[in-house]
Amino acid sequence: MNMALEDLFDRHPISRPLVNWGVTVISVLMCLLVLPMRLPGMELAGIGPNWLLIWVVAWSVKRTMFQGALAGLILGLLQDGMTSPSPTHALSLTLIGVLTARLQKQRYIEEDFISVALIVFGMAVLAETVTAIQFSLQGGRSLMEIWTYHQFVALSSAILSSLWAPVVYFPLNRWWERMGLIEQV
């Protein structure tokens, strides 16, 4: 598999960015399509993991703030398409892209699953808080209802997302690392 890929890249240099972006796009598509599913083990009181948030964290961990923000914006718009455009998800996911990139994980934190899971946990709570604030500003729902529901959603979503984070993070990180190594050579 490795050899075949290297061979392809050597023969047609243009194929490298194409394959790289193809894998990236397909991973986003898979995250999107898994969102409405509620498989056993992926559900806690009717709430599933926030796959797009995990993807944004996996993407932004080793990238610049601008790249993180862009990925958050794009995936946020996609999630808007899947649910309802107001309030928008783009805001919370962009913020998360920027903050995750800002953490500079490779400099301060050791590289392993636990730290990624922890980042995802914190970011999931943050994302739900941003959404709750958006709902509060928008009006229509009573504040008390929003914030009681927020506690419930933030906790379940954070727990599930951080547990499932390695499933997205590990293969994607491996892939991007390899592509990075090949590009450096």
Binding site: P17, W21, V25, L29, L32, L33, L35, P36, M37, R38, G46, I47, G48, L70, L73, I74, L75, G76, L77, L78, Q79, D80, G81, M82, T83, S84, P85, H89, E128, T131, F135, G140, R141, E145, Y149, V153, S156, S157
Partner: protein, 271 residues
């Protein structure tokens, strides 16, 4: 000019890719994920068609029948005074499997595996054994999105079947909803059956919704009651979609004659 070309050589592909990604995302958002939902339906097709949990359905169905009975009984007196009633012809519904849930926790939605190819339209009514589930908010060729009754943004005019006191209902996650009464001292107690009222613009009158679970008469500004929805919203596997016409739940009055052109769906009030 040279600088521009050098910039393009360096960042050209990246810029193009980012632009493409952004415009795709915007397109998906504008079309409300139509293509994504279609793909999802295609992928999940082999897993659809699980027979529903029969025993749960049976009890829910019995409850629905009981509720319809109470609704009819309490209306009987009113009906007897009027002449020229006929029982409404039942409109034919589309049975659709539930293929997905909401893609976010803040919206209570369900994705059905039938779309406008089968005649489902935005604003159609979704029922399941047990009563009202919600209404269609978005349709593609083979899928449709249902805004559930339990979503906090869905508002329905409802009435207590026994005493005919009116109010409106708003969703409250899971299978609960809150009913706010219009009167200060409504005649209501635990176990009363709640159904859609004739004030509801989005739903035909007389469809069973649920039972009163608890009542808070001291609530300000209006008394409130918590309603347990009888439709099994949390483990819904099948639902039936009906076009939004007035004769779905209620027998129709013949005199004075109702023009048939009047069957267009009620104007959309933003829920």
């Amino acid at each position: 000019m040279y600088a521009l070309r050098r910039w393009w050589e360096r960042y050209g592909i990246q810029t193009a890719l980012v632009t493409a990604a952004l415009s795709t995302a915007l397109f998906v958002r504008q079309t409300q994920g139509g293509m994504l939902l279609e793909t999802y339906q295609l992928i999940t097709r082999p897993f659809q068609g699980n027979p529903a949990q029969q025993d749960r359905l049976a009890t829910a169905q019995a409850q629905e029948l009981q509720q319809r009975l109470i609704e009819l009984e309490s209306r009987n007196q009113r009906l007897e005074e009027l002449l020229g009633f006929v029982s409404a012809k039942k409109t034919k519904g589309v049975t659709a499997p539930v293929i997905g849930r909401s893609a976010d926790h803040w919206w209570q939605q369900v994705i059905l595996g039938r779309g406008n190819q089968d005649g489902i339209q935005v604003g159609s009514i979704v029922l399941s054994p047990g009563g009202l589930v919600g209404r269609i908010s978005n349709v593609t060729a083979h899928t449709s999105q249902v805004l559930l009754l339990s979503d906090p943004s869905s508002r329905v005019g409802v009435t207590i079947s026994r005493s005919r006191f009116m109010g409106f209902l708003r969703g409250k996650a899971a299978n609960r909803a809150v009913m706010e009464f219009f009167e200060k001292v409504p005649d209501v107690r635990r176990g009363d059956v709640v159904s859609t009222s004739s004030f509801s613009q989005l739903f035909p009158a007389g469809i069973p919704i649920g039972r009163i679970e608890s009542v808070d008469l001291n609530k300000s500004p209006a008394p409130e009651a918590v309603i347990e929805l009888t439709a099994p919203i949390n483990y819904l596997e099948w639902a039936t979609v009906y076009p939004n016409s007035a004769n779905l739940g209620e027998p129709q009055l013949i005199s004075p004659p109702v023009p048939t052109a009047d069957e267009t769906p009620a104007p959309k009030a933003t829920p």
